[in-house]
């Protein structure tokens, strides 16, 4: 019977789909699983010959010991504040800029867009010294006079941790692409209704690119949360340091405390995973009901 065959084909297709996805997922999570397993191993298990995947003794106490090694509560709080600030700032500012570049024609917008893309092409290590110097010589902060001399500028302050990373050209580019494809008719209709440009952006267009917002929010938070070098360079005080810097205490020059490092890293990764699980739920069909009549 063709109907039964069709159903069977669909089911076989489904099973194949599930199998493929499961296989791919397994391949992807191997390091994560390894990290989890290592975090509960004893040194004897880590040094076991031949190498063992599963611990023989489950050292859950590693987590408590790792947390005691440094003020991780403070680091986590700092990381959270910085990441949240970056996310909010970036999402607002970059989406505005992306929208403007995508939908509002003004002189130089093409060049500005190219500029943002070009900004991505400068390697981090090239920028980092000048960025540090700007922070250090920031006029009228941290004891600096108007020419930026004499004090320490933004060093060892929240400003240095938050402002330089507040907007990313990557996000501007991403928003622009997503705003590009929205129908002009919506815009014109809203204009006829009397909404200003900002209103159109905020009330009409933005809700239609929710996936873009979620994506930028997730990526910004994650990038900021995992940032190591910049916070290390611009802070000295322990009260301002972040999680990744804190985790580096487990990698000494001679030896690495693998179990503690993995425990700490797991703890640092879990919020990201949770955030992603929550965030991806908002990836719903954007246009399902907002059709054009």
């Amino acid at each position: 019977m063709p109907a039964v065959d069709a159903v069977r084909r669909v089911r076989a297709g489904r099973i194949a789909l599930y199998l493929t996805l499961s296989a791919i997922s397994l391949v992807m999570i191997v390091p994560f699983v390894w990290m989890l397993l290592t975090s509960v191993k004893t040194p004897a298990d880590i040094g076991a010959v031949p190498p063992r995947l599963f611990p023989t003794k489950w050292a859950f106490g590693n987590y408590a010991d790792a947390l005691r090694a440094a003020p991780f509560a403070t680091y986590a709080r700092n990381s959270f504040v910085i990441a949240a600030s970056h996310t909010v700032l970036n999402v607002v500012i970059a989406s505005m800029a992306g929208y403007a570049l995508a939908r509002l024609r003004f002189r130089g917008s093409g060049l500005i867009f190219l500029g943002f893309v070009g900004a991505l092409m400068i390697p981090t290590y090239t920028k980092i010294l000048p960025e540090f110097l700007i922070v250090r010589f920031m006029p009228l902060f941290g004891g600096n006079d108007i020419t930026g001399q004499g004090g320490t500028g933004w060093l060892d302050t929240w400003w240095a941790l938050i402002i330089p990373g507040a907007v990313s050209p990557f996000s501007v580019f991403l928003f622009r692409q997503f705003y590009l494809d929205l129908p002009v008719e919506l815009e014109e209709a809203a204009r006829l209704d009397g909404l200003g440009e900002l209103g159109i952006y905020a009330r009409i267009m933005t809700p239609l690119v929710k996936p873009a917002f979620i994506t930028v929010a997730l990526l910004t938070f994650e990038g900021s949360w995992n940032n190591f070098l910049w916070p290390l360079l611009v802070t000295k005080s322990d009260s301002l340091r972040v999680i990744q810097v804190g985790l580096s205490v487990f990698r000494t020059e001679n030896d690495t405390q693998w179990a503690f490092l993995m425990a700490g890293t797991t703890l640092a990764t879990v919020p990201m995973v949770v955030l992603f699980l929550i965030g991806q739920r908002y990836f719903v069909q954007g246009f399902a009901t907002a059709g054009i009549k």
Binding site: A44, I46, G47, V49, G108, I134, G148
Partner: protein
């Protein structure tokens, strides 16, 4: 409109940047003068060690309070970094004119920094304050002056499996390279299909640069001349040192892919090598992960020798910046960091070798076989570095010599290439 705004900002940026780099990096000459006067003020200490879960407790819980007792008017602010990020911290600090008052540097870094007047010389009396082996102080000197004090040392020695030696009937560690090669051949094992399961000698578990340097010194060679302006390693002694690796590989008693990987036990611990170049800190690692090897006395170590015995000495030195505003305080801290009371717990915490001979009788040294060996043989210690162009040259050594190890070039070609690159670096000084 955008363009003019951009060009104005550009000009501002250019100007600010030029002013910044121009103004900041010139050190105030005062620091160079002797650190007279009372020790007071707030000083910064940049440290790449004292990490780990106990490092900070040691520094801030024990050592710095002891320092505070002796110098109540000095406050020390600690800036922790990792060795990997130490360079970034130093360069940004230097460029921004905010060099820390007291810094810790690696062996080999003193001539480049002293040459550019970033560090201030220390009074020579500090060299005789404790019982230092002369060799140990060599890397702290430049142009005849003392610029730093050794804190902890890390040496490269050859570790071996006593059980494998006994099994093969070998009674003594090799006295020279001929014996080393012969023993390596005997100790190597292959499986049925001819693939190596155990190498006789694994020189690749430490960085190729430091390994070759150890061999160069064991061959009575030198990296540079006294002034640090001439390349000396490209004579036949340097080539022979590199050639030994190639010979061991050719003998099939060693293999470049047989080296200890990060996160896994060493080839020696795994029984995959009979002899292995190692850092003395391996002892601590074995104690933690494979204590049975130590308990059953299966692991030993010896100093590499060919024409002379040589032990490569790396480590961390402590020095004071030339641009510090509190010279006396900074010097007091440097002096304090160089005392045995500071060195011993620091070394113990990391499994490193203490820099002073006075500590030979301490329990820590007595209970750590590798550290004891290193201290007993301190007069055979040699250090890398020795030229102000070291920071650049040191980066090139491994990648250039590697080409010979993987068979792309002969040893002579690789050494010549390295000599070429080094000469270019020196000419840029």
């Amino acid at each position: 409109m955008e363009y003019t705004r951009r060009s104005v900002l550009t000009a501002l940026g250019l100007g600010a940047f030029a002013a910044a780099t121009g103004c900041s990096a010139s050190p105030s000459g005062d620091g160079q003068a002797a650190a007279d006067g009372p020790a007071e003020g707030e000083i910064t200490l940049l440290t790449p060690i004292f990490e780990g879960s106990t490092g900070k407790q040691l520094l801030e819980g024990k050592l710095l309070p002891a320092f505070k007792q002796k110098n109540p008017n000095v406050t020390v602010k600690v800036d922790y970094t990792t060795y990997a990020a130490l360079n970034e911290k130093l360069t940004t600090g230097l460029a921004g004119g905010l060099m820390p008052d007291v810094v810790m540097l690696g062996v080999g870094w003193i001539p480049p920094f002293a040459h550019k007047k970033v560090l201030a010389p220390l009074p020579d009396s500090l060299a005789t304050r404790f019982d230092y082996e002369d060799r140990v102080l060599e890397p702290s000197r430049y142009d005849g002056k003392l610029y730093a004090l050794p804190l902890v040392l890390d040496t490269r020695i050859v570790t071996y499996r006593k059980d494998m030696f006994a099994e093969a009937g070998i009674k003594q560690p090799p006295k020279d390279w001929a014996e080393l090669r012969a023993m390596a051949k005997e100790l190597a094992r292959t499986d049925g299909s001819g693939k190596l399961t155990r190498v006789g000698f694994d020189p690749f578990s430490i960085d190729l640069r430091q390994c070759w340097e150890t061999f160069l010194f064991a061959n009575d060679g030198n990296l540079f001349d006294e002034s640090g302006q001439q390349v000396k390693f490209n004579d036949e002694r340097g080539v022979e040192a590199l050639q030994l690796f190639l010979d061991v590989i050719k003998d099939k008693s060693g293999d470049y892919s047989f080296k200890s990987a990060a996160g896994q036990p060493s080839t020696l611990a795994q029984g995959r090598s009979a002899m292995m170049m190692a850092n003395n800190s391996l002892w601590v690692q074995l104690k933690e992960q494979n204590p049975e090897l130590l308990a059953e006395d299966k692991v030993g170590a010896f100093i590499l020798a060919n024409k002379v015995p040589a032990m490569l000495q790396g480590g961390t030195l402590v020095a004071r910046s030339a641009s510090t505003k509190h010279a006396a305080a900074a010097q007091a801290l440097v002096e304090f960091m160089g005392t045995p009371e500071t060195i011993l717990p620091t070394a113990a915490q990391r499994g490193s070798v203490p820099g002073v001979q006075d500590l030979r009788t301490s329990d820590y040294v007595k209970n750590n076989g590798f550290v004891k060996l290193a201290l007993d043989n301190m007069n055979k210690a040699r250090s890398e570095g020795g030229t102000p162009a070291w920071m650049e040259i040191r980066e090139k050594i491994k990648t250039t010599l590697e080409t010979a190890v993987v068979g792309q070039r002969t040893a002579q070609q690789a050494i010549d290439e390295l000599a070429n690159l080094s000469k270019q670096a020196i000419s840029r000084l």
